[in-house]
């Protein structure tokens, strides 16, 4: 291990991105721990080179999905296919998966460079070759100057970048990222987010990114898969997910929404005296008591001294101002243009109007005046 940087620059850059990434198909995965169905018929297809975020609350099975793909655990039933090949009988060692773990996972007994070179050493690459490659990948994550440092000498963000480099160095079939940023502070997290996305595009490597942070998922992924209780709630692009959530769970988990109690009658619901059509997969039974789920931008207000609600909170968000309007027992969040918001005093009476074409409804939850994701 002489001068690593010298070796790296004297060799041509060998890291050519693969023509296209691998295609991943998860077919009806089931994994049961005791009485918990961690995965309950989970199916998902990921196109080559796609960046998919798995989003869901804690304990919904996100990590379990990654562990199944990486081959760390046995499935109770179902199949994992990569490029059409069933991996059921392939050990973790042979699967070629690049995994970055939620906790720091660098080998404490090796410096950054040797950590990155580890996978290549396991593939019996010649020493000079693998160190050059490792130095090159370290450079990609911007850590050439840290090559000789041991994990305990690096910051959390640096360690996770080395872990990313280590996963990328083996040119894996699929890159599996299990909340790699959750232990880092906000600024480092934002930087690394951009860096991961950039590298992923450049190498066009199929990537599954696990997170419970909706902002992270929406800003990074080509498609987001929202999970709940070991199942898929909805898989869609960030824009579709936000604008057209299929289920109440998705509507509440992604973005901000308010729940307004109402009755379902003849395909529509009555919201503040206005009949609104119902969208989505979940159709309630006729006459059922339901909650309408409304985004702040689905609503608008008109100042009216005889109005049905009054303003209880105002928060300035820049171009828009978010109001909380109390309508009978229900606080409702509404976004208005900031110039309009400025004119409203706290306590001012207003009328609330729905401006979206249709609304999503969910079964009534008692005591659920307002919910935020």
């Amino acid at each position: 291990m002489t001068n690593v940087n010298e070796v790296a620059t004297s060799l041509p850059l060998t890291h050519t991105p693969p023509a296209s990434g691998s295609r991943v198909e998860l077919d009806q995965l089931v994994r049961v721990y005791g009485s918990v169905r961690a995965l309950d018929g989970f199916s998902l297809t990921i196109e080559p080179g796609e960046f998919v975020a798995l989003l869901g609350p804690s304990g919904c099975g996100k990590t379990t999905v990654l562990r199944q793909i990486a081959g760390f655990e046995q499935l109770d039933s179902g199949r994992v296919l990569v490029n059409g090949q069933d991996l059921s009988n392939v050990s973790a060692q042979k699967r070629d998966m690049g995994m970055v773990f939620q906790s720091y996972s660098l080998f404490p007994n090796m410096n950054a460079l040797n950590n990155v070179a580890f996978g290549l050493r396991m593939r019996h690459q010649r020493s000079s070759q693998r160190l050059a490659k490792a130095a090159e990948v370290l450079e990609m994550v911007g850590l050439s100057d840290q090559a000789k440092k041991y994990p305990h000498q690096m910051s959390g963000g640096q360690q996770q970048r080395v872990a990313l480099a280590r996963a990328l160095a083996i040119e894996p079939q699929v890159l599996l990222l299990d909340e790699p940023l959750s232990a880092l502070d906000a600024k480092v997290r934002a930087e690394l987010r951009d860096q991961i996305r950039m590298l992923q595009k450049r190498l066009s490597i199929t990537t599954i990114f696990v997170t419970h942070d909706q902002e992270e998922a929406l800003s990074m992924a080509d498609r987001v898969c929202v999970m709940s209780k070991g199942r898929i709630e909805q898989m869609a692009t960030p824009a579709v997910l936000y604008r057209h959530p299929n289920t109440a769970f998705v509507a509440q988990f992604v973005g901000v929404s308010s729940r307004v109690p109402t009755l379902y009658r003849g395909g529509s619901v009555d919201i503040f005296g206005q009949a609104c059509t119902v969208r989505g997969d979940e159709r309630p039974t006729e006459g059922a008591e339901v909650d309408a789920i409304l985004r702040p931008e689905d609503l608008t207000i008109e100042p009216d001294p005889q109005g049905i609600g009054f303003v209880t909170h105002k928060s300035f968000l820049g171009a828009t101002t978010r109001l909380v309007v109390q309508v009978r027992e229900t606080p409702v969040r509404i976004d208005v243009r900031s110039d309009q918001g400025e004119e409203l005093e706290l306590g001012a009476h207003v009328n609330v109007k729905v401006i979206s074409r249709d609304v999503l409804v969910a079964a009534r939850v008692e005591n659920s005046a307002t919910q935020t994701a």
């Binding site: 081959g71 070629d96 998966m97 580890f118 041991y150 305990h152």
Partner: protein, 290 residues
Amino acid sequence: MASIGVPIGDFIANEEAGIDRPMPLAGARKKRRRFSLWRFIVLFVAGAYFLIPIFAGLKFSLQDISGRFSFQAIQNLPSAPGFSGAFWLSMRLAIVTLVVSILLMVPTTIYVHLRLPRMRRLMEFITILPIVIPPIVIIAGILPAAPLWAKSSPYLLSFLYVILSMPFIYRSLDAGLSAIDLKTLVEAARSLGASWLRTLTQVILPNLRPALLSAMVLTLALVLGEFTMASLDLWTTIPVWIVQFNTASSGHVQTAASMLGLIGTWVFLTIIVSIDRSESRKSRRKTGTL
């Protein structure tokens, strides 16, 4: 005793106050002085308790019969009848015990940590049994039960020493494995293409080195000092030899033999402690960055 502690405690308190730092409040200072005084009393008593017998032994082994300073006892040691036989027997037993213990306990402990974490309590209980059950009970049970071929070999003792050393080995390994994120490290290595063997040799064992070393030293000290079993099994190991080689003029040589064993173990311990220290300094820095 207290009259020795006071000036030392004072000296330290003054030293610290002298450093370019705001003076601590009078109350805090008083408290600190009393605290360090107690520290020195405790240290002194404990030190005297351990060191006086050792010092006496060392002094005795460096005297001739008339009480003058001499290296004669140590010089006579190798040629003392039966010593070299006992020495090499103890060494062979120590090595066999170490190899068998490590081969048995390292994979077992790692397996329990990785796959059967709920069994850790049970393992702890089982491995502590040799401390709870006196060695004499174990050997008294084994001897009538063991087949003749086993009884005729000294390595039956090694087998028993493996049992005796279990508490030390298991506890050291358990602590070492708990200090690293074993599951994640193993999974990282596996997904990077490492076989189980290479995961063990290149990832787990290097990070377990201090734990392994301390387990080995403790085992070594145990084997070199064990008397009951060896004597009942009729094998002359060093401790048995020390007791047997008991003539009027031999006291100095016997003591020299004990001292030799003690010093040897100490040298090992010192090495371990210094390795452990640099290791724990590393991990302290590591937690500082999280």
